[in-house]
Point group: C2
Chain length 428, copies 2
């Protein structure tokens, strides 16, 4: 998927410093009831009249569709121009460090295209099902509007998320290390209802999902998954899908790698074996150090990352009462708990989960503590309701080596210095 | 709040037709297992190459912050220019008929300003608490970042939502009859934690919340509510509050009328009695037919509306399998169930709830049936977990008369004709 050359590593890496775990004596700071809300403030800012206290602002006719504040212009999806040959087959990253809660706003959901954003006229949109079915059928949008709908919150993670980190700490910011993920409330039709409507033949074992974009993205999916929780979705977070997320219709494959969530879906073929298309063989498979690749890796395993503080989001308020927050998810179920360490994994304390979350959706965690101003080695570790615990990067490398690109769910470490500045580091 | 003159009524009303309940024999259609997914489609639309099948689209560098499809330009907040003297003290409406699920996208959340949108520099933002507290305190944003946060999904409804309908069917579209509502996931600080930090004196009985905008919106709130579930919020649906929703900080007062959710909040004064400011006396109180007004009406009672079909969203696919959908909410708790009638309230059937929803948040309901193509009188009726059932408009009028403006939670009726066209009507 990406060109992982030495040149890129040199450009990106900010620190390959290895921290020896245990060098920080921070255990005693894990639990604290001391508060210190500083109010070292220039009072003039509230006692003096500000322009917004006296001047009329825009009326209700100014912005029929609203946008963020001009003071939030830095909160954007960011791409890395040299990462791929062309921006029409590339990726940008969700600014996780600027977000909170459990919903990713539509305008900030990371993008991954293989042929640029398809702009589809909804009047001309068609969705076809053919192959091992009783009735080859073509639907338009008003046909799809007749099916019962469901609303489900799911994360979508690119299989390549954190892929750079296999070879050590490379990218300095959770937007870049973990930003190929978003969490969205989808409205759509259970795929099983549509497949039942057209009638599956008994020989039906696989489906092929095909996109209408110029890359005609195609992926094979076993029929058990298609009949389980897949959705033909047309709304995200309440409104129509955004163009870059598959407008007007995309496939939702909960918990499975994002590449399978075919955007701009135009066809499902039902067959009796997988198709082995390009994007499921030469790409999106896991290369081991012996040169062999795992045939399929669909589920995204439990993973988490601390979003604040992080390299793009230092601690700015100094020592004292401090909130650590981040996100956790699992393609196999709900997140049961998240632990946080401030000393590189020697001591762990359970974080607090907050906000709407369900199976195969992103969860938000918080960990509040009284920072003594000493350096920190921050880590988070997710556990899902299957009992699976997020591994260290070294544990993953011991199985797959360092040639792998996809499916890196290893524990991330941020080193925070006495000034609150964070950087991406490795611990061992 | 609004000018309710005869001129406006004439401009807006499309039908004051009264339907006699029982004139439609539709009961037998309430339950159906017959499906008829039509596929009366020009096959060329899928067999012929479309531009998006072969042309490269925008790359990942094109839209750092994304926007809806150009084909969705009609999905906007709409205001009614003659409703108020000036758009800086007016309202626009959420396009409920274009949405689905339970989240209102930030760009489509209705606006209500009293002095236009305040544009606040976050570096100069200050939040003060004074009055009956141990320590008058001023916070900036980095101080607020130290407090533990929560994530909660809540509806915000303007007390004037559906206010026009007191005098009969007036506005032809749920965007206008019910669009002064949105449902958002807030991230913020429990107000009680901040009040505990500054220390409440034992004489503290009320708080005054004051906005930093040019109208300096002020509302009195009893201390019990302030210490219950109010939030000092800075994120909505994951990202920073939008300017028109109070950037950088607003007050969230779950379940209570929207006017109390002070935007651009700059100050909370703690006192021992209500202040009786303009926006809680001359406005936002309920005027009875005897000329007296109810002093305070805070909670928004259980309410619902069918969003599809509705006057702005006709049935376009003809008879057969049809989905009716809408939203329901209660300021007193969770929605326990929603009933739907297709015959003006003679027969009722329970709808299906779907999607993330919690106490004091919007719920989504669906009712699937086999439409025989005969005219319909559509109604929905919400019941919350206190056992309260949404009343008819006539039941409300029997108590408050027709001079009231605020807090109309009566049952809404749409008449749907054989062609699927809907209009706003009254039944009796």
């Amino acid at each position: 998927m990406f060109k992982y050359g030495n040149e890129m590593v040199k450009k990106l890496k900010t620190s390959r410093r290895k921290f020896v775990v245990g060098s920080l004596a921070a255990g005693s700071a894990l639990i604290s009831s001391t508060k210190s809300i500083a109010s070292n403030i220039d009072d003039k800012a509230i006692t003096e009249m500000q322009p917004w206290n006296s001047e009329l602002g825009d009326g209700v006719d100014a912005n029929p569709y609203g946008f963020p504040s001009e003071y939030e212009k830095h909160v954007i999806r960011r791409n890395v121009p040299w990462l791929t040959a062309d921006p029409t087959s590339s990726v940008n990253f969700t600014p996780l460090h600027e977000l909170d809660g459990t919903i990713t706003p539509n305008g900030l959901c990371f993008e991954r295209h293989h042929g640029g954003v398809a702009i589809i006229d909804p009047k001309k949109y068609r969705f076809m099902i053919n192959g091992l079915v009783d009735q080859n059928t073509i639907f338009d949008l008003s046909d799809l509007a007749r099916f019962p709908r469901v609303n489900k919150l799911y994360f979508l993670e690119c299989a390549a998320n954190s892929g750079m980190e296999w070879r050590g700490a490379q990218l300095n910011g959770c937007q870049f290390t973990h930003g190929m993920i978003h969490n969205v409330l989808y409205t759509g039709i259970p795929l099983k209802d549509i497949l039942k409507e057209v009638g599956l033949k008994s020989s039906a074992k696989w489906i092929l999902a095909e996109g209408a974009d110029s890359s005609a993205m195609t992926r094979s999916i076993p029929i058990e998954k298609a009949m389980d929780d897949c959705i033909i979705a047309f709304k995200m977070n309440g409104e129509s899908l955004r163009p870059e997320q598959g407008y007007p219709v995309r496939l939702v494959v909960p918990g499975w790698e994002g590449n399978m969530w075919v955007k701009w879906i135009r066809r499902i073929e039902v067959g009796d074996k997988p198709w082995h298309h390009r994007e499921e063989t030469s790409k999106y498979t896991d290369l081991f150090s012996n040169g062999k690749a795992r045939r399929f890796t669909w589920e995204m395993d439990a993973k988490s990352v601390i979003t604040n503080p992080s390299p793009q989001a230092p601690i700015t308020h100094g020592r004292g009462q401090t909130v650590i927050t981040g996100v956790a998810w699992s393609g196999r179920g709900k997140i049961q708990k998240v632990d946080v360490s401030i000393d590189g994994g020697v001591n762990w304390a359970e974080a607090r989960l907050s906000g709407p979350a369900d199976t195969k959706s992103m969860h938000r965690f918080y960990f509040e503590f009284n920072w003594d101003g000493k350096p920190l080695l921050l880590q988070s570790r997710a556990m899902d309701d299957t009992g699976y615990v997020q591994p260290t990067k070294d544990q993953l490398r011991s199985i797959r080596g360092e040639n792998s690109i996809y499916h890196n769910n290893g524990i991330q470490t941020w080193a925070v210095d006495k000034d609150g500045i964070a950087e991406n580091v490795e611990v061992s």
